[in-house]
């Protein structure tokens, strides 16, 4: 019933300009081979170096030691650091700590290999099976792994001691199974994603067997996340093995960090350094593995979005002269420039020197393709540009007041009261956790400062005015309980609640069914006349423009290529790009039955 989950909508509702900048940036980064990028990362080089050094020490144990790990010499009990033949001293039973430390490295390495290895094998196989085959198989594997995940693994490892006989390798085998749900999830998600991609379909059509499809395509995509998870799992396998050995689970004949820490802990008052060595080594190994995993993640998966201060206001490179200027226009945008800084730090202008004006009560259509900068211009006027955007130049006058350089708080006074907004995708623009009415009431109260009761009455009246048959029912519905068309009416009601002077509508009908589209445009036209508000209608559709706009502004790649009265532009377009867009629309109008670009079937889901 709801179409708002899933990655499809996510990419769809992200402003396309941002996406384009990010993609270009990523493409530039992808040209450098992965291993070279890794070698450039100091965190990777240092942690990998430490781990290689430590595990080499472990491999070279026979060459570096003179004693056996369990060789006890009673004359050496608690020998201090630096005793000849006992560089790090000896423990409570006279065993060489240096020797035991090196042997413990090997125990840790074997634990990590078994734990992570089993988790990888079990997780990958189950993930491939669960992701690739039908619903029933997936449900069964899903359920099984959820069960595995909810049980405290360490408790299971302890109570199964009579079965494992305390052999740490057997224990790590079971622990590997307990770790596998993490890998299973990763693989299953990627497989489901890859499966829906075209190339697997193509491979299937071309007659490749299931097995080959799985191994060739899926494993290739999955390898990055698996390497990352492998580092973290190796770390937790070592930590858990040490913890269990510290408890005493397992043979006392096996030298391990946990056993050494336990013996050092008992001897803490007599010889504190005995406790220090294994702790340092264990800490160094697990910390290196975690940091290595982080470095791998940053390089292989790209950096995650960074948080920014909410309500910080839009970034401006240089402030325009903020004094009030006389302007008879409602909105006067002049020489506006907006740039995005991609993850690599290169700034790129997506709006370059846009100037346009809107008179009171006028409907202006801002037309252009995706990525032409039209939505960015609209967002800048509202003061809600994404955090990555920077206003590089220009000014936006609203009713003679400069908006560029205003703080978010100053903008907030205008938003909702003087300038309002209708988004493109109705569903994702309602907070899924609150009833529709509560969200609108909150907005009305924030904008007008009226009582809750008054706000409620106003919202109900508005919902009715916006063509909702049963306003009370809609008021008490959650967003997932109403249809897309109804959600858009709700959002329109929310926008016009405070009788704004300017309404910015960003593709208000694009995401809707064709029939609903016309109704929404009719509603906007009626409200415009009733409230005498100006509308900035952002769209890629000339058909919509022809319906209700007084003036047209055409944008392409961040600049305005044509502007004029609607009829003039339609009759006599000057720019080739405008002609092309007009041509496209005329074609479309002859086949009116075409669905809208992104119109998931959204009937009335009452």
């Amino acid at each position: 019933m709801s179409t708002q989950d899933g990655p499809l909508t996510e990419t769809m509702t992200t402003p396309s300009t941002e996406l384009i900048v990010a993609m270009e940036d990523a493409a530039a980064a992808a040209r450098t081979p992965m291993w070279r990028r890794l070698l450039k990362d100091p965190q990777f080089v240092v942690t990998a170096g430490i781990l290689i050094f430590i595990f080499m020490l472990g491999l070279l144990t026979p060459l570096l030691t003179q004693h056996g790990p369990n060789e006890a010499d009673l004359s050496m009990v608690n020998a201090p650091v630096g005793t000849p033949g006992y560089p790090l001293g000896a423990d409570e039973t006279g065993r060489d700590i240096w020797t035991r430390l090196l042997h413990s490295i090997n125990t840790a390495a074997i634990s990590a290999l078994i734990g992570a290895g089993v988790a990888l094998v079990v997780g990958v196989i189950a993930g491939l099976v669960g992701g690739y085959f039908g619903k029933v198989t997936r449900a069964v594997t899903e359920w099984t792994f959820n069960l595995v995940m909810t049980f405290p693994g360490i408790l299971l490892l302890i109570i199964l001691m009579p079965v494992t006989g305390g052999d740490y390798r057997f224990t790590m085998l079971i622990f590997g199974v307990l770790l596998s749900p993490g890998i299973y999830r990763i693989v299953r998600n990627l497989v489901v994603g890859v499966k829906n991609e075209l190339y697997v379909d193509a491979a299937r059509v071309s007659g490749l067997g299931n097995l080959r499809i799985l191994s060739r395509h899926v494993l290739f995509v999955v390898r990055g996340p698996i390497i990352i998870a492998g580092a973290f799992m190796a770390g937790s396998a070592i930590a858990v093995q040490s913890g269990l050995a510290f408890l005493g689970v397992g043979s006392i004949q096996i030298p391990s960090f946990g056993a050494m820490i336990s013996s050092g802990f008992r001897n803490l008052y007599v010889a504190p350094t005995q406790f220090l060595w294994p702790s340092l080594m264990l800490g160094l190994i697990t910390a290196s593995l975690v940091l290595l995993g982080n470095a791998l993640r940053d390089t292989l998966e790209g950096s995650k979005p960074k948080p920014v201060k909410v309500g910080r206001g839009q970034k401006v490179v240089e402030r325009a002269e903020t004094q009030q200027r006389d302007s008879t226009r409602l909105v006067e945008i002049s020489d506006l420039g907006i740039a995005y800084r991609g993850p690599s730090g290169r700034a790129r202008e997506v709006v370059s020197g846009v100037s346009l004006t809107i008179d009171r009560g006028q409907v202006v259509g801002l037309v252009g393709e995706s990525g032409s900068g039209k939505t960015q211009t609209a967002f800048a006027t509202l003061g809600v540009l994404p955090a990555e955007a920077i206003i590089t130049r220009g000014s936006i006058l609203f009713d003679g007041e400069e908006l560029v350089g205003r703080t978010d708080k100053q903008m907030r006074a205008l938003r909702g009261t003087a300038i309002a907004y209708i988004p493109q995708e109705p569903m994702s623009n309602l907070d899924p956790s609150y009833r529709v009415g509560a969200q609108l009431v909150e907005g009305v109260r924030a904008a007008l400062g009226v009582s809750r009761k008054e706000a409620r009455a106003r919202v109900l009246a508005l919902l009715e005015r916006c063509g909702i048959a049963d306003p009370v029912r809609t008021f008490d519905s959650y967003p997932h309980e109403i249809s897309g068309g109804m959600a858009q009416r709700v959002l329109i009601a929310g926008a016009v609640a405070s009788r704004p002077r300017l309404l910015i509508a960003d593709e208000p009908s694009t995401a809707l069914d064709v029939t609903v589209q016309a109704e929404i445009l009719d509603l906007l036209r009626d409200l415009q006349a009733e409230l005498d508000m100006a509308i900035l209608l952002v769209t890629h559709n000339f058909g919509v423009v022809a319906d209700i706009c007084d003036r047209i502004v055409v944008m392409k790649k961040g600049v305005i290529v044509e502007a004029g009265a609607t009829l003039d532009v339609f009759r006599n377009p000057h720019d080739d790009y405008t002609k092309m867009l007009l041509g496209a629309i005329l074609d479309e109008s002859t086949v009116r039955t075409d669905p809208a670009v992104v119109a998931p079937a959204e009937g009335a889901v009452r």
Binding site: L156, G243, L268, V308, S428, E442, A447, G494
Partner: protein
């Protein structure tokens, strides 16, 4: 809603059956060892067989399991092979000790993680760097080392807190609080390191959602957007993290209890397991599963309350 609860409860029961069944089947291979341990190395095969028959251990494992189950559902978990003490009260008593460490640690973890996560996701910049740094340090230091380190500093060197031991809350609340302070700190640091990062990630995602922009265009205040809207929506996935955090804390507590000589679930399970005290081990497994089921059910209910969509499924 009732169907929803029933379904979740059903999943819990299946988990309980599965875990106890698998545990029993695996343990059933070692009944003879247990008999030998009880009787000592001098026991003849006849005497051993006699004991096996007397205890009913010579029956097929599956029959024994259902026998155990039939008693367990009536609250009778049998008695220890070695001490002859009834299993259920002993297990409960040990579980309460462990819970008295985990529950405060979990509450602290949730409060601190929510605060840190929301703070760094809504402020960014230096604040975010600091809280990320705190998380990283908590994440890379193994809990075991942290526990020992804190004992050395606060109990051995500064003598502010007792190094080991446990006082029940009913005896002396002050002494109880002191005896659990270091274990709670250790569990909380590990928990916050993990959970704050999750809350932060969810909050960053939520704050980038379309509805946040739309709410902003209606002039709604920043505080309301962050707390009422974004946090509310981030809350439901964070709850799942919390229930997993509880389970991982439970595992962690089993190990660090040993550092502080707390008479909790971990040492109890360890000893029972070392001795092969099968009825006790089964009791430990059953109560462990029961706890997990209760936690998961609570999480699901809270989730249904937070997330209107979850109520339907």
């Amino acid at each position: 809603m009732l169907v929803y609860i029933a379904r979740r409860l059903g999943a819990g029961i299946i988990l309980a059956l599965l875990v106890t069944f698998i545990t029993f089947m695996l343990l059933s291979t070692s009944f003879e060892d247990v008999a030998l341990t009880i009787l000592g190395p001098a026991a003849t095969p006849e005497v051993t067989a006699g004991l096996m028959a007397e205890k009913g251990w010579d029956r097929p494992a599956i029959v024994q399991y259902f026998d155990w189950l039939a008693h367990a559902v009536q609250g009778d978990f049998g008695e220890s092979v070695y001490t002859s003490l009834p299993v259920a009260p002993t297990v409960m008593q040990r579980l309460l000790v462990t819970l008295s460490v985990i529950v405060p640690a979990l509450l602290l973890t949730v409060v601190l993680s929510t605060f840190l996560g929301v703070w760094s996701a809504s402020r960014g910049g230096v604040v975010d760097k600091i809280s990320q740094g705190i998380s990283l340090v908590g994440y890379i230091v193994p809990g075991l080392l942290l526990a020992i380190g804190l004992v050395v500093i606060f109990a051995v060197q500064l003598k502010w807190l007792p190094a080991t031991g446990f006082t029940p809350i009913s005896e002396d609340p002050g002494a109880w609080a002191r005896s659990i302070t270091i274990p709670v700190i250790v569990l909380t640091i590990g928990g916050v390191a993990n959970m704050a990062a999750q809350v932060r990630g969810r909050m960053i995602d939520e704050l980038r959602q379309d509805y946040v922009r739309t709410l902003r265009t209606r002039g709604i205040s920043t505080t309301s957007i962050v707390i009422r809207h974004a946090l509310r929506n981030a809350g439901s996935p964070a709850l799942t993290v919390m229930s997993l955090e509880f389970i991982s804390m439970f595992g962690g507590a089993l190990i660090i209890e040993n550092v502080f000589a707390l008479p909790g679930y971990g040492s109890f399970a360890f000893n029972a397991s070392l001795q092969g005290d099968i009825p006790v081990i089964m009791g430990i497994a059953a109560f462990g599963v029961l706890l997990v089921t209760v936690v998961n059910l609570t999480t699901d209910l809270a989730n249904g309350w937070l997330n209107p969509k979850a109520r339907v499924h």
